[in-house]
Amino acid sequence: MEQAILSGLQGLINGFLHLDWRSVVMIIVGFVLLWLGIKKDCEPLLLVPIGFGCVLTNIPLADLMGAEGFLRVIYDMGISNELFPLLIFVGIGAMTDFGPVLASPSTFMLGAAGQFGIFLTLALALALGFPQLDAVSIGIIGACDGPTAIYVTSKFAPHLLGAVSVAAYSYMSLVPVIQPPIMKLLTTEKERNTIMPAMAGSVSKTTKLLFPLVITVLGGLIAPKGLPLLGTIMLGNLMKESGVVSRLTKASENEIANVVTLFLGLSIGATMVGSAFLRAETLIILCLGFVAICLDTVCGVCFGKIMRVMSGGKVNPLIGAAGISAFPMAARVAQKEGQKYNKKSYLLMHAMGANAGGQIGSVIAAAVMLSVLAGMGIIK
């Protein structure tokens, strides 16, 4: 009888007995992510479920990521087969207005320059000794695009999923802090003061309807390995622009996106197990992620300067910083910085064009990367 009671009590303290220092640290990391999301409003839709998933998975003996655990079920349902990021992309396509980039197609090129950080960081990760596919996953943080980073990482380096996702989403929310000093450093006062003329004309509905179709077919032919990414974002955009499936559009940008975001966040948090996350490698990945976003900004602004020269001084290079995927945050940063130096400068619509270009650019860059890897025979 006494023995049975003691055994019963033992069962109640088993969790505490199995708590090692790594679990404690990771539970604290989970709390920090929750604090960032709740108190600092830093990507709360992602950081709250990620933080909570991190806390859940590090509580010993619950085995939520075991074969029968509910977090494993969610992970297998949409992360290991890359489904969740794609569903998120349908929602992103449905939410994004590509009108500004269609009105000024040259801003597309800023969206390309804003992705160079991906490839430069990849090279840096290789130089630091990371295996090739790990380096690819680390470089993709430079896409400044959470779903793309998750898609590529879950495919090639699932053991880095937690670190890469946390880096991608954290730095995305820090764009207003990271970009302005770089923008100031790389531009002269004269360049920052440049007033860009208002965009000429609007875009016809036919063009807006043909845009997703043309991009899908052309992008798919150039980089077929990235077609899932490109196809889903363009499907969402086609639904939005067609205006005939408003129920599907609304579901994609609301219900589906919300449910998938919850599952995505929880299952990413669930990968942040102490033994896998608490390594020097994680710290290096977080540093490289920061470098990637900085390099994106550097390349975008430098390309803006080139466009300024080519246009005879009509382009304000600050809009180059908006050529990343953090939409519409990066465009707002460019507008704010432009107005800081010249109250009469209205860069928002131009920056929105570059930013929408960055949205497509990040997907294209990932698609190109996958196809180059396939071409080299590194992936199937």
């Binding site: 980039v101 269609l102 009105a103 197609p105 040259s106 597309f108 090129m109 969206g111 390309a112 320059a113 992705q115 160079f116 991906i118 490839f119 430069l120 990849l122 090279a123 290789l126 130089a127 090739q132 380096a135 690819v136 004309g201 609007s202 875009v203 016809s204 036919t206 063009t207 043909l210 845009f211 043309v214 991009i215 052309l218 992008g219 150039i222 980089a223 270009g357 497509i360 650019g361 294209i364 860059a365 190109v368 990367m369 196809s371 180059v372 890897l373 071409g375 080299m376 590194i378």
Partner: protein, 43 residues
């Protein structure tokens, strides 16, 4: 494949491929804009 070759190939093909793809897309967008301009006075 050694890391150096891999890194250089990814940089050249990756950056080149991205900029080329987006350039072609921007040309097509320009063409679409010219073929289907917004009608003045339309909705």
């Amino acid at each position: 494949m050694d890391n150096f070759t891999f890194g250089v190939t990814m940089m050249v093909c990756g950056m080149g491929g991205t900029i080329l793809t987006l350039y072609v897309m921007s040309l097509i967008m320009r063409l679409l804009g010219k073929c289907f301009p917004e009608k003045k006075g339309g909705k």
